[in-house]
Symmetry: C2
Subunit: 338 residues, 2 copies
């Protein structure tokens, strides 16, 4: 297996990308190919680890790409014109079978555009979407679309529900994943036009498409562990995702400070630290790392824009599993059956 990593994408690139790849290499079986400016990458490896890349692992490689797509660039324009950017080179390698999965923490819009234009959509899916995995009570929650399609139609949300079902069945072994529609109330009449129309469509089509649609779900019930996936448009989904991240940060900070306010509370907190640290880790929504870009013909993983080396390490390991589960192949099979 070959994992392609955009070495130039993300707020902390290329340092965090390179360090994360080096940390991950001994924990995965795959080759990890760093895509970006070869000279810079080689120099950084030498600077950080005091040796040549080849000395670290024979499975750590570089593919030279001389350009970088910046965060503020117009996505489609960037993908079309920067032919030698780390992102475009990565997608081309993925398409041509020179890699099995592509990871990037770069410009999200460009990643979406590139995946669709260069790798291609699965037949039957109009809009691929980002699926994020969040922690929930004794389980996890798939959130789709977690930020790729700002404007959606009901048919898109229906397809998100289909994709979630197939993904969760094949990857997590959940026989009938419970799929909810994110809304501001549980009644059919609640919400904006998109949600009301999507509700109707989901209700009408779910039996035929094998979706276990459980109706409208409010954010307050989202983490109960009873819901396997939540479908929504990319604007609302991204607000949802980032709100959990913000609240998670607030919890971590408040917890840490109230337990270390003074020497007495520090000592008192010692015995319960393992439990508290588990919670703090669960609250670190960033550590849920990569969102999967479902609906394209090959595995594409969007790493968090502000990924640090630990997160890159985590995302690389996650990407290996994504390929091992053959989630994308199974999605193609299921959609082609229809």
């Amino acid at each position: 297996m070959k994992i392609l990593l955009d070495a130039m994408g993300g707020d902390k690139a290329p340092d965090a990308n390179i360090k994360g790849a080096v940390k991950a290499i001994n924990q995965v079986e795959a080759e990890v190919i760093l895509i970006g400016k070869e000279e810079i990458i080689r120099g950084k490896i030498k600077e950080f680890f005091g040796k040549e890349m080849e000395e670290i692992s024979p499975r750590l490689k570089i593919k030279n790409a001389t350009e970088t797509i910046e965060m503020e660039e117009q996505p489609t324009v960037a993908i079309k014109h920067k032919k030698d950017s780390s992102m475009v080179v990565g997608f081309k390698m993925l398409k041509e079978g020179e890699g099995d999965v592509f990871i990037s923490a770069g410009n999200s819009g460009a990643l979406l555009a590139g995946a669709t234009l260069l790798v291609g959509r699965i037949k039957g899916i109009d809009r691929p979407a980002l699926a994020g995995i969040l922690p929930a009570y004794k389980s996890q929650l798939l959130l789709i679309d977690s930020g790729s399609n700002t404007n959606c139609k009901p048919i898109n949300l229906l397809q998100f529900a289909q994709m979630s079902t197939i993904y969760l069945k094949n990857t997590y072994g959940i026989e009938k994943p419970a799929i909810g529609l994110l809304n501001i109330g549980t009644e059919e009449t609640k919400g904006n036009e998109l949600v009301r129309e999507s509700y109707k469509l989901l209700k009408e089509k779910s039996e035929e498409l094998g979706i276990n649609f459980i109706g409208n779900v409010e954010g307050r019930d989202a983490f109960s562990g009873k819901i396997d996936a939540i479908v929504t448009d990319g604007f609302t989904g991204n607000v949802f995702l980032k709100t959990t991240e913000g609240l998670g940060k607030f919890v971590k900070r408040t917890l840490t400070e109230s337990l270390t306010k003074n020497i007495i509370s520090k000592i008192c907190a010692l015995p319960s630290l393992p439990a508290i640290n588990r919670l703090k880790k669960a609250m670190d929504y960033k550590s849920y790392g990569g969102a999967l870009f479902l609906g394209v013909k090959k595995p594409v993983v969007k790493a968090h824009g502000s990924s640090d080396e630990i997160l890159f390490e985590f995302t690389i390991k996650q990407a290996e599993k994504f390929v091992q589960n053959r989630a994308v192949e199974k999605m193609i099979e299921e959609f082609e059956k229809k």
Copy 2:
């Protein structure tokens, strides 16, 4: 001062409403008037407390109203036809000066329609909106619209920003409240059409209107304590609100269980319980209680639909402060100046 409480609205009505009012009466200076079916209310008081209402406090009163607006009723129709419902009676009393603030945990749509139709909007405000107060790092966060207007235009969001500014200045004494626009990125070009257009309008008008507009804000930064208010449409705002509630529940549950897993972890957790309980309380987003309905001519408070007696008690106390701060009068003055 007279606090009007809809005794029949909410999932746990009338029991929780009545118990909450009795608990609150000795903590407020105001009269509390329970609006609903007199016979039922009297019977319940006798049942719960073993005495007549008059024996509890001379400031606890009843206003008979024979009808109730149910959760699933069509808001405008209900307000127009159920003239003797607890909600309509409450609004009429508020309008006619027989009360200073009206609290209801009933049908939100009906509350919105009733406030607008029966009490009336402040001149210069097109859409009144619910403003919720959430905890943030060493401070609080005002979220407007937290659920009343599912569809909004840029002008509505601009007015939400104006109302927040006036409210926070007068109630919290914040000289230049920092107002952010909820979005999925900080760049001007991010978001859906409503957000992009609202950004332009806010940027253009904020100086003239005395708004300290700090630009787009992502959910991940919302709780940092650096932002005083977040403006958004009622659909997105309600998703935001309920997501914090859901995640808060998850944190509380996980924290409790990991600290009480077995006898050893229970004992170990004892010294840090006060700190942990403070956090759990902060995570109980329900306890932030009533959302203020800003933009109508009199104080209206929307209590949480699933309010229990503790929450009613809290909301009654909060409503008293809302009146004492003269927030609504000050809003009328400021908007009339313009």
